[in-house]
Symmetry: C2
Subunit: 397 residues, 2 copies
Amino acid sequence: MSKVLIIGAGGVGRVVASKCADNPEVFSEIMLASRTLSKCQTIAREVGKGRIQTAQVNADNVPEVVELINRFKPELVINVALPYQDLPIMDACLETGVNYLDTANYEPKDEAKFEYKWQWAYHDKFKEKGIMAVLGCGFDPGVTSIYTAYAAKHHFDELHYLDIVDCNGGDHGKAFATNFNPEINIREITQKGKYWENGKWIETEPHEIKKELNYPEIGTRDSYLIFHEELESLVKNYPTLKRARFWMTFGQEYLTHLRVIQNIGMARIDPVKYKGVDVIPLEFLKYVLPDPGKLGEHYVGETSIGCRIKGIKDGKEKTYYVWNNCSHQKAYKETGTQAVSYTTGVPAMLGAMMVLTKKWNGKGVFNVEEFDPDPFMEKIGEFGLPWQEAANVDLEL
Amino acid sequence: MSKVLIIGAGGVGRVVASKCADNPEVFSEIMLASRTLSKCQTIAREVGKGRIQTAQVNADNVPEVVELINRFKPELVINVALPYQDLPIMDACLETGVNYLDTANYEPKDEAKFEYKWQWAYHDKFKEKGIMAVLGCGFDPGVTSIYTAYAAKHHFDELHYLDIVDCNGGDHGKAFATNFNPEINIREITQKGKYWENGKWIETEPHEIKKELNYPEIGTRDSYLIFHEELESLVKNYPTLKRARFWMTFGQEYLTHLRVIQNIGMARIDPVKYKGVDVIPLEFLKYVLPDPGKLGEHYVGETSIGCRIKGIKDGKEKTYYVWNNCSHQKAYKETGTQAVSYTTGVPAMLGAMMVLTKKWNGKGVFNVEEFDPDPFMEKIGEFGLPWQEAANVDLEL
C-alpha cells in the first residue's frame, strides 16, 4: 500500500492518474498536482474513480514541491510535468528522501539540448540519500529501452544494430497540431539529427535522412532519422552496439508546417519584446495551436512503436522486431486522451508500480534498461499496451 | 512655401521624408513624427538633408496629434502611419483645420475590413471646415487610380473593363518576409477575394482565381485575384465599368507560408492570453518576421504595377495598358528602402505637392481619381516613377 504524487496534469498526467486509480492494491493514495488546480480537478472528476486528491503546485519552485511532499508524504513522485522541471522536482525529492520517476529528460529552457548529463549528475546524491530516480519511463524513452533490454536478455548474445521506429499512423483531422506540448515537440524535432555509429555520434541536418518504412497494420510511411534521448543511454548500456538510430514518421504537410514555423521565427526560444513584455515565440505558439489534450475525440488510426534489432545469438546473425500498436480511439475511450499520451502514461504508471513493489530496485539514478525487463514486459499488455514480436524478419534497415 | 507634417516613420515615411526634403521650393518646413522618436531621428539623419525636424507622437491619441499640429502649424498632414490610425489623425486635422492625405484606407483593428465607408463619412465635416482630405495616394491605391482617371480623360469615352495588375518581380533572399508591415499585409491578402461585375460584388475564396500574366521586363508570373481598396472608389466614380478586378503576384512558397501562418493560428487578430498578457498573434508576428524596412539592401529585381483597360473610344473598342516598373536596387540606392515602400512614398509626396500648390482643389474627402490626373502624370516620372503606355495590345484578361 503506497502513496504516489503525480505532478503534471496534461494528457500524460490524465492517463497516469486514471491508471493509478484503477490499481488501488498498489496505489493506495494518489495525489495529482499541477500549476493549474482546475486541470487536476477535471482529471480527478473524469477519470479518478473518486480516488484522486488534487493540489496546486509550481514545479519550478523547489520549496513549494518540498512543502507538498512533506504534507502528502508519498513514497514516489511521478513527474509528468515539463522537461524543464525535472531538476527542481529531483531536488525536492532529494531534500525529502522520496523516490522519483519521469518520462522525458531534463532540458534547459534556453537551449534545445537533449542530454542526460544533468540528471545523471544526481546519481551519487540519490545513492547517498538511499533513494532511486527512474529516468525516461514513458514509451520512447521507456518501453523502447525495455524492449531493447528484453531483446538483449532473451534473444541476443550481442546487440549490433538497433533502430527504434516510431510511427504515428493516426489522423486528428486538423491542418496542423502536435501530439503533445507543441513547445516540447517542436524543440525536439527541429533540432539536428544524430545517430551512433562505430563508437561516435554522427550529426545530420534536420530531416536529412529519410526512409520509407513499413509498419504493422499501418503500411508504408516516410520515416526520418532524428535524435531521441534513449539513444544516449542505450549506447552506453549496450556497448556492443555498432549503430543505433531513431526514426519517426512525418507527413509532408507536417514537415511543411514545421519548416514555415521555423522560417517565420516562431520556433525561436529566445524572448522577443512585445509591447514591453517578453514573449517566447515557441512558447506562445502553444496558445494558438490546437490543444493536444483535445485532439483525442476525433483521432482515428494507430501508433506503432518498436525496436528493430540485428545482432548475434549462438554465433549466428539474428534479427528481431518487437513493437506495440495502439489505437487512438481505444485510448480515448478509456482515458479521454489520444494514443500519444496513452502510450507515455501507461508505462509511467507501470514503472511506478515496479518501484513501489520493489521489482525494480536500486539506490541512485537509473535509466529503465538497467532494470530487469521481465516483470514489466509481463504486465504491460494487461494494462493496455500489448507487444508483438517477430524474429528473423526483414528489418528494412 | 508650406509646412508639412509627416506621421509614420516606417519605409514609406522614410521615402516621403526624403522626397519632401529634396523639394524645398514646395516643402519649406518638414516635421516627421511617430511613436518611436529614434526612428524619425534615423530617417532625418540618413535622408533628411538637414531639413527634417522630428517629434514623438502616439497617432492613436487625438489630443496628442492636435497638440503637435498646434505647435508645428502645418498646412497638410501626410499620414503614412498604420491604417488603424487614419480616423484619429483625421479627427485631429478636423479639430485644427488642417488638410489631410493618406495612402491606405482605414480599417478597424478588430476585423480585417477594407472599406472607405468610415472615411467617406467625414466628407461633410471636412467640407464644412473648409479643408480637404485626400484618400489613398500611394501607388495602389493612388497611382493606379490616377492611371485610370488619365485613361478615362485621354483614351476612352467609356471604361468597360479594368484590371489592375500588381507584380513584385523582386527577390529579397529571405525564406519569407512581407514587403510592408506584416500585420497589414497579411490581413489584406488572407481575406476573401472580391471583384466587381455587372453592377455587383462577387466574392471568391482567398486566392481561388489565378492567371498567369506577363509583366513588362519581368515575364510571366502567377497572379491571383484579390480585393484591393481602390476598386471600391473606382467603380463608384466610373459607373460605366462592367468589371473591375485586382491581381497580385505571389510565388508558391509565399502562399505556402501564408497558408501555414493561418493554419497555426498566427493570422488571428483576436487577443490570446499569454502569461496573463493579451497578445494578438498577427501583431506579434511582426516582431519575429524580418523587418520590411531592412529588406532593401539585398533586394534585386523590379516591381511592375499598372492598369489594363478595355473600353470605347469614338465608337470603337480599344485596349490600353499604362504601367510603371520600379527597381528595388535603384529605390534602395536613393532612399535606403525597397521599391514597395518607394512606390508608395513618392506618390504621397507628389499628392502632397498637388494639394499645397493648389493643382488639386476641393473641400471635403476625395479619392485621387476625382482630381485632374494631368499635373500628377506630368511630374511623377521626374520624381522617380516614370510611366509607360501601350494601346491596342493583348491585355491577357
